[in-house]
């Protein structure tokens, strides 16, 4: 991923990169190869931010402390903005549905779906 993109998209979230976000990002790279080359890192980062954001918030587990929750919220919002600017509509919709599924399960105190799997599927959504 280019240094410029890292700088811009990780503003305020720099610490997360070395704290697992880089690894999470890497786990999505093979799921975005069917997109244009310049879009691939943005979509992989969007997925990584959303997965990390949800984990930071403690969704489906013990609630995160307020400041950590806010960092998680920013991860979700930035991931969502990256999708809005770079992803086709079916992918945006599939990402949203993945978060809806995870949060609905958490609210109902049911087992959490595998979010990474859902997000990887979302990256392949075509309709």
């Amino acid at each position: 991923m280019s240094v410029q993109l890292l700088d811009r998209e990780l503003d305020r979230l720099e610490g997360l990169w070395s704290d697992g976000l880089a690894e999470t990002y890497g786990s999505y790279l093979d799921a975005v190869v069917h997109f244009e080359p310049d879009v691939q890192p943005r979509l992989a980062l969007a997925a990584a931010l959303i997965e990390s954001g949800v984990r930071l918030q403690g969704l489906g587990g013990r609630a995160a402390p307020p400041t950590t929750l806010l960092t998680g919220d920013l991860c979700l919002a930035r991931g969502s903005r990256l999708l809005a600017d770079n992803a086709p509509l079916p992918v945006q919709v599939a990402f949203a549905r993945a978060i809806e599924a995870a949060s609905a399960a958490a609210a109902a105190e049911q087992p959490a779906p595998d979010l990474r799997q859902l997000l990887r599927q979302a990256l392949g959504a075509t309709r």
């Binding site: 969704l59 609630a63 806010l70 903005r81 999708l83 945006q92 919709v93 949060s103």
Partner: protein, 459 residues
């Protein structure tokens, strides 16, 4: 009332969810109670009511494939034995046979203007020989709203909010419904609806959908904020975090964050999606700044302005821009409305700060002080030559009832409140000036009235 639904399919076999489009037809026609009859106008397009779950749809495709596999020696595909075979006739015997297994017809009941569908039911047109251009015929019958019956913009948003909450799982819908039903000023949806009336593609129903999504997005941020601020009540009712715990609050906030962004995306206007996504990012980043500033509470005016522009004004601006974009307004109009929303949102937040010092507001005086919420009157009072030292000393310690009461007294006795009021009114004046240079199709007085009212509540 008859109509045709046109759409294009993109795959050989495809389940096209037409539920929302049928809902739109029902609303557009004003059907209150009755039925929608649908009929496929093709011999290789079926209709079905089932669950829109991608893996299940894949199961259906597999089932159709097993029951009527392609190229399994259909006599229909033996063109040598058929008469008058058109040029380019596809070998699609399997698709006709599959259609026989489905139905070419569907009827859905309508009650109180809403389709009668179960929670998991969606209405599908099932492409069996795509991709193609397709058409479904619709007839609506029953009791229609009178043509001269004017539905207010507010009513449209409330209906849309109720409709959206009706289809959500109860563990998330119930807390959000309580928050929505508790009221609120609905300023952001109003701005969306008003600005959506400006351009040449004005569509009140689509505007109401966008407006409701923006309100859900705003409420989702409030649910998380209330946990962060340890607020016990909002709009006179217990907050989700207080009533059901922080875990539920996080889940409900996330669900509606996701749902709202999906509804916005599904409106299908990239400019609208981007504007609101950027605003949401600003809201979240500024909330972090807000909490960080509490270490040096009450902070200074510059930091305050930076935070409220991100936390409050950005969504006001995006609401105005997105409505205008939806209506196809000219770029200069969209930009002017964005500046109008930014200034109005800033003024609104200042006015909101002042409510904390008003005994007639219905809220306990000093709640913001107790929760160390950013407040411009407090910043000005802390900077005041006379009361400032005592305000700062009190804010530096624990804030019990007597300390909060004393700080509120000091703020009220200082010149802070008139100063903030005047500043808010100047911002509204500047917001109104933004509207003067652009063509607003007669909506300027309404927008000006709304802007003045947002600040007049503290006059």
């Amino acid at each position: 009332m008859s109509h045709r639904l046109d759409f294009a399919t993109t795959h050989a076999t495809e389940f096209v969810d037409i539920t929302d489009r049928i809902r739109d037809e029902v609303r557009r026609a004003g059907l209150r109670n009755g039925r929608v009859h649908l009929q496929s106008l093709h011999t290789t397009l079926g209709l079905a009511i089932n669950e829109n779950e991608p893996l299940l749809l894949h199961d259906f495709e597999s089932l159709l494939d097993r029951l009527a596999p392609a190229g399994a020696g259909y006599e229909h595909d033996d063109f040598a034995r058929r008469f008058e075979v058109p040029l380019g006739e596809p070998a699609n015997g399997h698709a006709h046979c599959r259609q026989l297994l489905l139905s070419a017809f569907a009827t859905v009941m309508v009650e109180e203007g809403a389709l009668v569908l179960g929670r998991w039911q969606s209405l599908f047109a099932v492409e069996l020989d795509g991709p193609r251009q397709r058409q479904v015929a619709l007839q609506l019958d029953g009791e229609f709203a009178r043509r001269d019956e004017k539905v207010s913009l507010e009513a449209l948003v409330e209906l849309e909010l109720a409709r959206q909450l009706m289809v959500d799982p109860e563990p998330v819908a119930a807390p959000m419904r309580r928050l929505v039903e508790a009221g609120g000023k609905r300023l952001r949806p109003k701005l969306v609806q008003l600005t959506a009336g400006i351009g040449p593609r004005s569509d009140p129903l689509r505007a109401a959908e966008l407006a409701a999504a923006v309100e859900l997005l705003h409420n989702a941020t409030l649910i998380h904020d209330d946990y962060v601020d340890e607020s016990t009540h909002r709009r006179g009712r217990p907050t989700v975090a207080a009533a059901e715990g922080p875990e539920r609050a996080i889940a409900v906030g996330d669900y509606y964050f996701a749902k709202a962004t999906r509804l916005i995306a599904q409106i299908g206007n990239g400019g609208v999606t981007s504007a609101l996504a950027e605003a949401l990012e600003s809201v979240c980043a500024s909330q972090i700044d807000d909490v960080a500033m509490r270490g040096s509470y009450p902070g200074d005016r510059d930091s305050y302005m930076r935070v409220i522009r991100g936390k409050t004004a950005s969504l006001f601006a995006a609401a105005c821009e997105s409505g205008a974009l939806l209506s196809g307004a000219a770029p200069d109009v969209v930009q002017a409305l964005g500046r109008f929303g930014d200034l109005l949102g800033t003024a609104f937040q200042m006015a909101d700060d002042m409510v904390d010092f008003s005994p007639s507001s219905g809220k306990p005086v000093g709640l913001d002080i107790r929760q160390r919420v950013l407040s411009l009157p407090l910043i000005y009072a802390a900077e005041d030559r006379v009361v400032g030292p005592e305000v700062r000393r009190l804010l530096a310690g624990a804030l019990g009832d007597s300390e909060v009461g004393r700080v509120a007294e000091l703020v009220t006795s200082s010149g802070a409140l008139p100063r903030v009021r005047q500043e808010a009114q100047h911002l509204v004046d500047a917001a109104v000036r933004e509207l003067e240079a652009v063509e607003l199709d007669g909506l300027r007085p309404t927008l000006v009235g709304l802007a003045r009212a947002a600040v007049d509540r503290i006059s």
